[in-house]
């Protein structure tokens, strides 16, 4: 019943008759395609063509379409190819595929100079668009916070606490571990290189200033951009995809107030706490390495640390944290709300949320360095 298909040719002169046999089904599609392509080469040479399908044991849309394609290739202005021996069962299937008219091909993209220049222009405009979207979101968040200040009852405390747990409490172990290790590495490298000048003890100065001013907060901000920024984007993005955000809006809720403000607030509270813990962990790690590897005992370490750093270093570091948190949060929320309908779009915006978040954190750090140098901190 399911013998492999064949297409036999017979007839001479102006008459050609093709006889299809066997199963013309999807399973045999590759060989069917070859048979039909071979037969199509005869097109245009004959006046009278008939395709006999009475011996076809099984037919599905693949087979029906290929027979129809064969018929079309033989049909010209003067020649009308016929399909003979079609059983009533399959007639409607062949009628169905006869309605098919070929669509234009898929869009072919051609690479041109103007096209490439256009791409560059679009990317530049895209950067401006990104900045505009960030400022737009910042404004929306400020307006929403203002509304919440006026009507404190509309503040979503439960949601904020929930997000605080997610981004702060659950992030503590990884943040502490990584900053601890980085503190160890900085101290080890410092001791290794300073020893050549006999300046081992200065490793404490370096560690203190570097960790408290820069590394502590920067490292934590980058980790939080990767950990919580991506989570925010994915959450908001999938809510956008399922029209949940539209649903909120139609019920008269402001998505900024309900979804974004609690998340932003949680981040702004969390990052200084995490940066503080990170600072301590890094100093602790550095102190341990200085003791066991550099021979600086804890008492000397603490004494030196007290001389080397002032409260300013610590304040500078922690002042940066909430601003960086706001930047990460705004980038993540803008990207989340920009997600379109597809899974691919969600992935792209989550990636771009992390990349842009880290980029803006570093830019902000540079801006702060200039600012604090100017005010003399």
């Amino acid at each position: 019943m399911t013998g492999s298909p064949d297409l036999q040719r017979s007839g001479e002169g102006n008459a050609l008759s093709l006889r299809a046999t066997g199963a013309w089904t999807a399973r045999f599609a590759p060989s069917l395609e070859r048979l039909v392509a071979d037969a199509e080469k005869l097109a245009g040479k004959t006046k009278d063509v008939s395709i006999d399908v009475s011996q076809v044991s099984k037919l599905d849309t693949f087979g029906a379409w290929l027979i129809e394609r064969l018929r079309r290739s033989f049909t010209t202005a003067t020649v009308e190819a016929r399909i003979d021996g079609l059983s009533a069962n399959y007639a409607s299937l062949v009628d169905e595929v006869r309605r098919v008219s070929m669509a234009p091909d898929g869009d072919a993209t051609t690479v041109t100079i103007t096209g490439m220049l256009g791409q560059i222009g679009l990317s530049v405009a895209g950067i401006l668009g990104t900045v505009a979207a960030l400022i737009d979101m910042l404004g929306a968040v400020i307006v929403a916070s203002g509304r919440v200040l006026i009507h404190p009852r509309s503040f979503r405390l439960t949601s904020t606490i929930h997000h605080l747990e997610q981004v702060c409490w659950r992030a503590v172990p990884i943040v502490v571990l990584i900053t601890f290790l980085i503190g160890c590495i900085i101290a080890q490298q410092g001791i290794f290189h300073f020893r050549r000048f006999g300046a081992d003890i200065f490793v404490v100065d370096m560690l203190g200033v570097l960790v408290l001013r820069e590394i502590g907060v920067l490292l934590v901000a980058i980790m939080i951009a990767g950990r919580s920024g991506s989570a925010y984007t994915a959450e908001l993005g999938s809510m956008k995809m399922r029209e949940e955000i539209d649903a909120l809006r139609t019920m008269g809720f402001d998505p900024i107030e309900v979804l974004i403000l609690p998340r932003m607030l949680a981040l702004v509270i969390a990052l200084p706490i995490l940066a503080f813990l990170g600072d301590i962990a890094a100093l602790y790690g550095g102190g341990l390495v200085a003791w066991f590897y550099g021979g600086v005992d804890p008492e000397a370490f603490l004494l030196r640390l007290r001389d080397a750093i002032s409260i300013d270093h610590f304040t500078v570091g922690l002042l940066k944290a909430p601003v960086m948190a706001a930047v990460i949060g705004i980038v993540a929320c803008v990207e989340g709300l920009a997600v379109q309908g597809s899974a691919e779009s969600l992935g792209r915006h989550t990636t771009s949320s992390v990349v842009k978040g880290i980029f803006f954190v570093i830019v902000m750090d540079g801006v702060f360095a200039i600012f604090f140098a100017a005010v003399g901190m």
Binding site: T25, A26, A29, P30, E33, D60, T61, F62, W65, L66, R69, N89, Y90, S92, L93, E96, V97, R99, V100, S101, M102, A103, P104, D105, G106, D107, Q340, G341, S342, A343, E344, S345
Partner: protein
């Protein structure tokens, strides 16, 4: 109850499915005949989709036996499973189109994976399937997010039919379609069944579909099949839920 049918395409015996402590299917038996359109009805939440998903193998069962095309899917090896999966098509309730692929790529995806055919034939078959499900070929390069609900259903059906399966599972195929579209859809299912010898397992609530498209109706209740038979059998049944379902206001409107 279900009468014994020789050579059923789907044979479900004593299947029990449980989620946590709730028993959704409880010793369920069901046969689907080759070449029929089986309409599967039951109250919302009775487990219609669960049974469909259990047969397809997406939901694990606690006990029981399911054979599709005479193959026990639990006992089959990977190759055996794939051979069966290639012979069925599934239309999910929400369409389940791949959101990052265009309509064209969605329909071509199973064909491309299973058959080595030229891009030209792939495109031609794609257009043929689109036309068969009543769509214009120019939707081919749109993404699922750019389609209406009804169009998503149709594209999903086209994808389910892409490999010309022998058996299709339709999970509420006409929900979300306008009555004319739903009527066309029923007509289409009937045409396909006639021409391709398709067996259709259709979960539906659409009385029109049950009336015009289905050969046989099975009713699920309390985790079991409470009735199976023709429309006339259903109307004659004394079961309270069936009486309400087939003699309610909406049913009278359909049957005139």
């Amino acid at each position: 109850m279900t009468q014994e049918i020789s050579d059923p395409i789907i044979r479900v015996r004593d299947v029990t499915v449980q989620f946590g402590k709730t028993r959704v299917l409880d010793g369920l038996d069901l046969d689907v005949k080759r070449g029929e359109i089986l309409g599967f009805v039951g109250p919302s939440g009775a487990g219609k989709s669960v049974l469909t998903r259990t047969i397809i193998g997406l939901v694990p069962k606690l006990s029981g036996n399911i054979e599709v095309f005479g193959v026990n899917l639990d006992a089959a090896d990977r190759a055996g499973r794939r051979a069966v999966e290639r012979r069925w098509g599934v239309l999910f309730q929400q369409g389940a189109l791949f959101s990052s692929l265009t309509v064209r790529q969605n329909i071509q995806f199973p064909v491309r994976e299973y058959l080595k055919v030229s891009q030209r034939l792939l495109d031609e078959i794609m257009v043929a399937k689109l036309v068969m499900v009543g769509l214009r070929p120019d939707v081919a390069d749109r993404f699922p997010s750019e389609l209406s609900g009804g169009m998503i259903k149709r594209v999903a059906l086209a994808r389910a039919l892409a490999l010309d399966p022998e058996l299709v599972f339709l999970d509420e195929p006409t929900s979300g379609l306008d009555p004319i579209g739903a009527g066309d859809f029923d007509e289409l299912v009937r045409t396909l069944q006639r021409t391709l010898g398709l067996t259709v397992f259709m979960v539906t609530h659409d009385l029109d579909s049950l009336y015009t498209a289905c050969d046989r109706i099975a009713v699920l209740g309390n985790g079991k099949i409470i009735a199976a038979g023709s429309m006339a059998d259903m109307q004659a049944s004394e079961h309270p839920w069936l009486r309400q379902y087939f003699h309610g206001k909406r049913a009278r409107a359909v049957m005139g």
